[in-house]
Amino acid sequence: MTDGEGQRDRRHAYRAVGYIPADTFLHRMDPRTKLLTVLAISIAAFATISPLRTAILFAFVVCLAVAAGLVRPFSRGLLLLLPLLVFIVVIDIFFPEISSGHVYLSAQVGPFSSVITSGGLLYAAAKGIRILVIGGISFLFVMTTSYTDFVASLRISRLPPVIAFSLGYALKSMTALADDLRNIMDAQRSRALEFDRGTLIKNRRKLMALGVPMTVSILNRARYVTEAMQSRGFASTPRPTCYRPPRPGRHDLLLLVALGIVCLATLLIPV
């Protein structure tokens, strides 16, 4: 891959964690339905240590991405999880929380003892898939939920405006920060800083060159937006109007039914 191609791929990756404007059935749904789905799927994923059950949950998440036509950005998002996934799975294979079944390897390296068992391997696989499930459903939520809709749904749920806007702003920031990160990297690369060579951890300057402008950008953005909101009357009345509240529709009902079936299936399927 040339330097240019690598750069292009990274640009795609940064955008993968942000909102993608489109008109899919997921975009049209009430954000509360999607939030409930994220919570239910995450709880279900944490509640099981079976690779089969977590795989069913993952298949459900993939089906949602396919049905919404978001396969490509969804895959890019999952790729971002790869380093974490590899790290967790490798640790769990060599130093498992659960050891059962056939023992493939048992070794003592200094103070560490490592046992690779069939049960441990299955558990490591389940934990790996769990990361994909929770990461995947969260990415779908972020990709399909606009800040405006999210805040409106929180407000009609009678959440205090300050909390509703803070949560909404956190969601919006994911897109904004991805753009900022790209601009900051471009500015530093223009000054001959090579992010691709060496490791970030070993090079304090590279961390500073990214971290300081990112921090400044986050703080400035938060301050400017706060001032802009205050200047337009934010929190000046106890009951602000919700001009275009989201309304749950047929798709919300369908998703909730499908969610119920999948959650039941993960409970009932024997391990």
């Binding site: 606009s146 800083l193 090579e194 060159a209 337009r232 000046s236 009951r239 602000p240 001009y243």
Partner: protein
């Protein structure tokens, strides 16, 4: 001046709080000023003179939202801002910030406009009427289906103003609204402000460095210097047009060549660059002109390899950029990006200026010489070397940012909107520096909307529209 003051400053002083990186500084110093109803006020002054602080005092952000020591009183239509919240003043004073991206936070145009009325608890039917009226008044109806992130800078600026004017404030405050706007959008904005003032008697106060187009529109000018009013107000000296260097092209070789270059941003349908062919010559200052979104910044990023062409070829010093990394191209092409805040991170100015040449492995003594030359060229010696670049004013940050690329001593210098936040004196200094670089055989390419600055530096003006070169001419002797 009318009898009823819209805004009145009585002995107003403001001092920022001290911090490790920022010495306490009196930004406004015992200011007395009266602005009458219906006036069109142009607020001018060099960078750091207190213009933004002045504007923030008008809608209560100071003293309510900004930390610091505030003395004196500001009255807005007879109400002391100390006794009102910022929200209370929202229907009296509308504030438009310098960068529309810092103000717009909704995903779509209608939600953005409706935000203020929602916060004031207007019933939905009233919000409907207000939104529709403002969409028509600001000609934003055709943008209703677009995401705010998809709008051009000019469209975002119009939306930012519309979302404030929807509350029908009696006073409108704008902080450098013309910076970043191309000529057509700037003229459109001026026309809009004129209509608001004429049709509804709105008092308008705006600060601006690009005064050439606003000066005639304003009914009054207020000049600030070190937080004090200057009486009588001082008009800005226009930038001196630089006489063309005869035979610049003939005597010098081409340094960068673009051959039929095409580029499309990911996810976009229309190309950002569409068959662009261009040669940049040593000893020549080339200005890239054209409306917002015409491809100027994209072209600069293609020059130093941050973006790679989909088709066509870019040759820098005889080598195709496809064969080089950005760091390798940076030895020849130095790019100063648009926002200084994205670049600055050093603990001291010295560290910031030495960063890029150190990345190229330049010896320490050579770096020190270049740092001195860059500081002198941009007039930032007074800032010292130990101050934090993060604690500087916008204009000072911009100059440090330019200096930090100058120290790479590249054969080509690319500047993306370098005059944002610069006062006329700083612009004149930058123009002189570009002149000196060209005299030393460097090729300089500048993307700018600033027509005055363009006239002061350009040997050649290349006009882009929708990713194509529509005009390429040399400035005639």
């Amino acid at each position: 001046m009318t009898a009823d003051p819209a805004i009145e400053f009585r002995s107003v002083s403001f001092r920022h709080p001290a911090s490790r990186a920022n010495r306490p500084r009196e930004v406004l110093a015992g200011l007395d000023c009266v602005i009458g109803e219906g006036e069109r006020v142009l607020l001018t002054g060099p960078s750091g003179s207190g213009k933004t602080t002045f504007l923030r005092c008008c809608n209560g952000l100071i003293p309510h939202a900004r930390p610091g020591t505030f003395k004196g009183d500001v009255f807005v239509r007879g109400r002391n801002t100390r006794d009102c919240t910022i929200g209370d003043l929202a229907t009296t004073v509308g504030m438009v910030f310098q960068d529309p991206d810092h103000q717009i936070f909704s995903n779509d145009v209608i939600s953005e406009i409706a935000f203020g009325p929602e916060q004031l608890g207007w019933p939905p039917s009233r919000i409907d009427r207000a939104v529709n009226e403002i969409l028509e008044q600001f000609r934003l109806d055709r943008l209703c289906d677009r995401q705010t992130t998809e709008l051009s800078w000019g469209e975002r600026q119009r939306l930012a103003i519309a979302s404030v004017v929807v509350l029908r404030p009696a006073i409108l405050i704008l902080d450098e609204p013309f910076s970043g706007l191309d000529a057509a959008n700037a003229a459109g904005l001026l026309d809009l402000l004129e209509r608001l003032n004429r049709e509804s008697g709105m008092t308008i106060v705006l600060s601006e460095h690009r005064t050439e187009m606003v000066a005639r529109w304003a009914s009054r000018r207020i000049s600030l210097l070190d937080g004090r009013l200057i009486e009588p107000p001082v008009p800005d000296a226009p930038l001196r047009d630089r006489p063309p260097r005869p035979g610049a092209k003939a005597a010098r070789p081409g340094v960068v060549t673009l051959e039929n270059v095409a580029f499309r941003h990911p996810g976009k349908v229309s190309p950002a660059m569409d068959g662009v062919s261009l040669t940049l010559y040593a000893g020549e200052a080339t200005v890239l002109a054209g409306p917002n979104g015409s491809g100027k910044s994209t072209l600069l990023r293609l020059l130093n390899g941050l973006l790679r062409p989909e088709s066509g070829r870019i040759v820098v010093n005889g080598r195709d950029v496809r064969e080089s990394t950005v760091a390798e191209i940076a030895r020849t092409v130095g790019l100063v990006c648009q926002h200084a805040d994205y670049q600055l991170f050093g603990e001291t100015i010295a560290e910031e200026l030495a960063f890029a040449p150190a990345n190229l492995g330049t010896p320490r003594d050579v770096i020190e010489q270049r740092v001195e030359r860059a500081r002198e060229g941009l007039g930032i010696e007074h800032l010292g070397l130990t101050a934090s670049p993060l604690a500087l004013s916008v204009g000072e940050k911009q100059r440090v940012s330019i200096a930090s690329v100058l120290t790479m001593d590249t054969q080509v210098l690319a500047l993306d909107e370098p005059t944002l936040g610069l006062d006329p004196a700083a612009k004149q200094r930058l123009a002189g520096l570009i002149d000196a670089l060209c005299a030393h055989g460097k090729a300089v390419v500048i993307a700018t909307h600033d027509a005055g600055f363009s006239a002061a530096v350009a040997d050649r003006i290349v006009r882009l529209e929708r990713g194509r070169i529509v005009d390429d001419r040399r400035v005639q002797a």
